[in-house]
């Protein structure tokens, strides 16, 4: 054998050995997200104060030794609130994305694989959904019932279903042209096998990248919905809600808005980098960012 065939990567070689080859953006992304993940899980234990404890004597305190990031108009510790709010804000994005994937991937697979009337019907339904601007669709869904965070999650999930369906369908259609799918049909595989064993494993890498970016949009949309009062409800310390509530005090006490704002930006940058890293990890041929 000459060296024409690429060196084999033994499956036994662990992730650790490949670490130096990990994309920089992935590493930075993970580094940014790790503390947030910790905060999301253990925020209420780590927080120096309960997130909802009011203290009238120390309201609107600037950042200092007692309150690292100051206090809000109720004298609640902004740092503790931001910390505890991590869960709410991240869950919003992750859960909504998971929801949109859960609904969108099967629909996209069916639309791409079956085509015909069913596929057409699915795509036309998605067209209608996509004819609403995303936040409007969110508002519309939420306007039907009193706001609650889980409803915001459902709403955001619904908002992003069409995109997931479209992407899944597009990849499926592309894969359907691939000859290994033809080969599977030729040896008499069932539709289910082809969908789940031949197509799905090839869909998930682009879907994973897409999902990581979706999470970003979902977090931001969630924050936006909380911001206009249709997402998380007080006294929750969801970041979007915190920023919204901080608006009237932005001049006297900018820290109330800035702290969750920075946290949000960190999360979004982290996930973005993670997504970019994931992309280059999963597709070594990739060159330009999209």
């Amino acid at each position: 054998m000459t060296d024409a065939t690429p060196a084999r990567q033994a499956p036994s070689r662990g992730l650790l050995a490949r670490l130096p080859a990990l994309p920089v953006s992935l590493v930075i992304g993970v580094l940014l997200l790790a503390p947030l993940a910790v905060a999301a899980v253990a925020g209420s234990w780590l927080a120096p104060y309960p997130y909802d404890e009011m203290n009238i004597m120390s309201r609107l305190q600037p950042p200092g030794a007692d309150f690292w990031f100051g206090t809000d108009e109720f004298g609640r510790d902004v740092f503790s609130r931001t910390l505890v709010g991590t869960g709410s804000s991240l869950v919003m994005g992750v859960a909504a994305t998971a929801l949109s994937l859960l609904a969108g991937v099967p629909l996209g697979l069916v639309a791409g694989y079956k085509g015909g009337r069913a596929g057409e019907a699915i795509m036309r339904a998605m067209d209608v959904l996509m004819s609403f601007p995303p936040i409007l669709l969110g508002i519309l869904v939420l306007a039907v019932t009193p706001p609650a965070q889980w409803k915001a999650i459902v709403a955001i999930g619904i908002v992003y279903v069409p995109q997931v369906v479209r992407l899944t369908r597009a990849i499926t259609l592309e894969l359907m042209q691939e000859e290994f799918i033809t080969a599977a049909r030729l040896r008499g595989e069932s539709a289910a096998y082809i969908l789940f064993h031949e197509i799905l494993p090839n869909i998930w890498p682009p879907l994973a990248v897409e999902a990581s970016l979706r999470v970003v949009f979902a977090i931001l949309l969630g924050a936006s919905l909380s911001f206009i009062g249709m997402g998380a409800q007080p006294p929750s310390s969801d970041w979007g809600l915190m920023i919204s509530e901080a608006r009237p005090f932005v001049e006297q006490a900018p820290w109330i808005a800035l702290c969750p704002g920075f946290a949000l930006a960190t999360a979004v940058i982290g996930i973005n980098l993670l997504g970019d890293g994931l992309r280059s990890l999963l597709d070594p041929r990739n060159t330009g960012a999209h």
């Binding site: 054998m1 000459t2 065939t5 084999r8 000859e179 033809t182 599977a184 040896r187 008499g188």
Partner: protein, 719 residues
């Protein structure tokens, strides 16, 4: 201006001693080379290491000379062309060497001056006309650009010149074409437009990088003819990069053979192709399937895969695959041995091997007598295709402007395939040959007509969910990479058909997979590998092994060897022939390459515009009487034999086929068209006793009067 070199410059000082010490006395002073490349070394670097695309490459092109630069994929031939143009991309870098153009080293010029030369003194035509023209600009504007830029023409003057140029490259309606966008033109027209662009500023040197590879054979023939004419009339020098020895033979005076980024042989085209000196050249020429060769013979092939270097060669680059190699070859790099005629070979054994042909592999087992005799085929056909018709894209929308009749891909095709018979389907792109293959496998539902497999309607069975019959008909694809799921190991891919066949014992299945791999000539350990870890030829073997796993009777090979290099292609063809003989398989062998089909097929269908225009045993089809299309097709095939160079060729118009009309599909391009009868009436089928059928309005007797395209085959069919 430098003076004419006395000899091919020594490739490197260390090797100088090995070359001929004194050049042969010159009878007439050779003109100074227009392009003189010396010691060119190019490498590509990325995070995973460096790859040497060219090592110490040297050659020269004299004024008015067309030099062929040949080699298989990965040999570095295109890289060298790009380096001359200073258009290396993707991390490519010229490490060392000189590129002397008209005596000036281009590498020493500032970028702006090199740019000024490009398109003016040195022009280029690239491989893929479909992507080389900017889709957003009119063709005329793109041709005019260099005229305005380099010659200072006004846009109005340029427009006039553009029409002249288009006319010169054989475009009949220059004004319309100049105003058109690229997608409105056929591939041949696009390539002509690119050639017109290249000619615009009257360059001295043309760089032609596989200029016809993406085109159909008949179109290719016309473009080559045009290029040859232009080089002659404009006294152009050209560097002609190609993998196709036949074309090189037709257009080039000299040829340089590359292997692994190293020049292994150079010399006059006729000499190199008829009497190759380097073992690699010998192998390359030997492995080419020939229309006129004895079909029972195994094709000689070159074992192994193409070398890729990461540094200066430490031994003969070809040694690992060379049947003549010994310890010396493997221990030191080879020097270029040159003689005064400009011939050179990089093999110290060249003289000793002179006259020694590329070795045949172990004497091929005598081929089982073909079962495809007419009588036998009709008695028990495996596949019966009856009035098959397929229309794509028909639409019955409620919106009147969306209703479409659709495009006819296959129009009323009937034929049979006998058991153990190999039927070739030859046609150009868009002829419907792949659709026929897919319909046979029930991968696409016929719009009309039936396909019977072993007497049963396969399409209906599959529709009912019965897959048993289908497993007996398999497919080997063109794109060996796309036909394997990248996320499954070879073993897993081959295991599935066995599972589906109800074989429950995993260990037994594993043994079967190992057996199949061995059968196609791969180590059983390959079962654990992923497709991207294999080379193209290996992947194609896996594809074949997988197709065999269902224990089929019938395999459709859809351009199964087209994407492979010549040396690998021979391997696969041999394998397919062996399997047919051992397992009694029937093949439908779909290809655009007549040489390949003539090598393997018993019977051939020549398709054009979705219809069969000629059908018969291969020996019959290759001899007159010909269908006019077959005749043109055969005459267009580029071949090695030198005596064919001046033979009359039948050149077809570029016009795209318009199938689906009432008359003969070929009427629009037919050089022997009788008149409106061809346009308006379906041609009658002339049939002879041995199963040779021709669909043409021209009487059989008249057709039979034509001279044979391959006189060496003259006489009656051997079987």
């Amino acid at each position: 201006m430098m003076t004419a070199p006395q000899a091919r410059p020594a490739a490197s000082p260390a090797v100088a001693g090995a070359s001929a010490p004194e050049p042969a006395p010159l009878l007439a002073p050779l003109p100074a080379p227009l392009l003189d490349v010396r010691g060119l070394t190019i490498s590509y670097g990325n995070a995973r290491g460096t790859l040497r695309a060219a090592s110490d490459v040297g050659f020269a092109i004299r004024p008015g000379e067309v030099m062929g630069l040949v080699g298989e994929s990965g040999s570095g031939k295109s890289t060298i062309a790009m380096a001359i143009l200073d258009l290396l991309g993707g991390g490519g870098r010229v490490e060392s060497g000189e590129i002397l153009f008209d005596g000036t080293d281009l590498r020493k010029l500032p970028a702006s001056e090199r740019r000024a030369l490009r398109g003016d003194r040195i022009a280029a035509v690239f491989q893929d006309p479909f992507t080389s023209l900017n889709p957003a600009l009119t063709v005329g504007r793109q041709i005019a650009e260099p005229l305005i830029r380099h010659k200072g023409l006004s846009p109005r003057q340029a427009a006039v010149r553009v029409e002249e140029l288009l006319a010169e490259v054989g475009i009949r309606d220059p004004r319309r074409v100049a105003a058109a966008y690229p997608h409105e033109l056929s591939g041949g027209m696009q390539q002509r437009a690119l050639i017109a662009t290249a000619l615009g500023c009257e360059p001295k040197l043309l760089i032609l990088d596989e200029p016809t590879t993406a085109l159909d054979v008949t179109v290719e023939a016309r473009i080559i003819e045009l290029l040859a004419k232009l080089c002659d009339s404009h006294k152009l020098s050209a560097l002609f990069v190609s993998h196709n020895l036949g074309i090189v033979n037709r257009i080039c005076q000299t040829v340089t053979v590359l292997y692994g980024g190293v020049v292994v042989e150079t010399g006059a085209t006729g000499r190199v192709l008829s009497r190759p000196a380097h073992p690699y050249s010998k192998g390359l020429v030997a492995a080419l399937p020939r229309i006129t060769a004895d079909r029972r013979h195994r094709l000689p092939s070159i074992p192994g895969t193409v070398a890729k270097l990461s540094g200066p060669p430490a031994a003969c680059v070809f040694a690992p695959r060379c049947p003549f190699a010994d310890e010396t070859c493997r221990s030191r790099p080879q020097a270029m041995l040159t003689d005064g005629d400009g011939d050179g070979v990089r093999c110290w054994k060249a003289d000793a091997l002179s006259g020694t042909p590329w070795p045949d592999e172990a004497a091929a087992p005598p081929r089982r007598p073909p079962t495809g005799t007419a009588a036998e085929t009709r008695s028990a056909p495996l596949v019966e295709v009856d009035h098959l018709r397929k229309i794509y894209g028909a639409s019955r929308s409620i919106l009147p402007w969306l209703r479409r009749a659709g495009t006819v891909a296959v129009e009323d095709v009937s034929f049979t395939i006998g058991r153990g018979e190999v039927v070739g389907v030859v046609g150009e792109s868009g002829s419907g040959k792949s659709t026929i293959g897919r319909a046979l496998l029930a991968l696409t539902e016929p719009s009309a007509g039936t396909v019977l497999f072993d007497g049963a309607d396969l399409t209906q069975q599959v529709k009912r969910g019965d897959q048993t019959l289908r497993r007996r008909a398999q497919l080997v694809f063109q794109n060996s990479a796309a036909s394997l799921n990248p996320r499954k190991t070879v073993g897993a891919a081959m295991d599935r058909p066995l599972v589906l066949a109800g074989r429950e014992d995993a260990e037994e299945r594993r043994r079967t997979v190992a057996g199949l791999l061995t059968r196609v000539g791969l180590p059983a350990a390959y079962a654990d590998r992923y497709p991207h870890e294999l080379s193209g030829g290996e992947r194609q073997r896996v594809n074949i092994a997988r197709a065999l796993a269902t224990d089929p009777d019938f395999v459709v090979c859809d351009e199964a060897v087209s994407a492979l290099d010549v040396s690998v292609q021979a391997n696969i063809l041999n394998l397919l022939a062996e399997l047919r003989d051992e397992m009694g398989l029937s093949y439908l062998f779909i290809t655009h390459d007549i040489a390949v089909v003539s090598h393997i097929a018993d019977r051939v269908l020549v398709v054009y515009g979705g219809t069969i225009c000629e059908e018969g045993p291969i020996g019959r089809v290759l001899r007159p009487p010909y269908h006019p299309y077959t005749e043109a097709l055969l005459s267009a095939v580029p071949r090695l034999a030198e005596d064919r160079k001046e033979a009359p060729r039948i050149l077809l118009e570029d016009a795209a086929a318009a199938p689906g009309g009432r008359g003969c599909a070929f009427a629009a391009r037919c050089p022997r068209k009788l008149g409106t009868v061809c346009d308006e009436q379906a041609p009658p089928v002339h049939e002879t006793a041995d199963g040779h059928r021709i669909a043409c309005h021209i009487p059989l007797a008249t057709l039979a009067e034509r001279a044979a395209v391959f006189p060496e085959l003259a006489g009656d069919a051997p079987h």
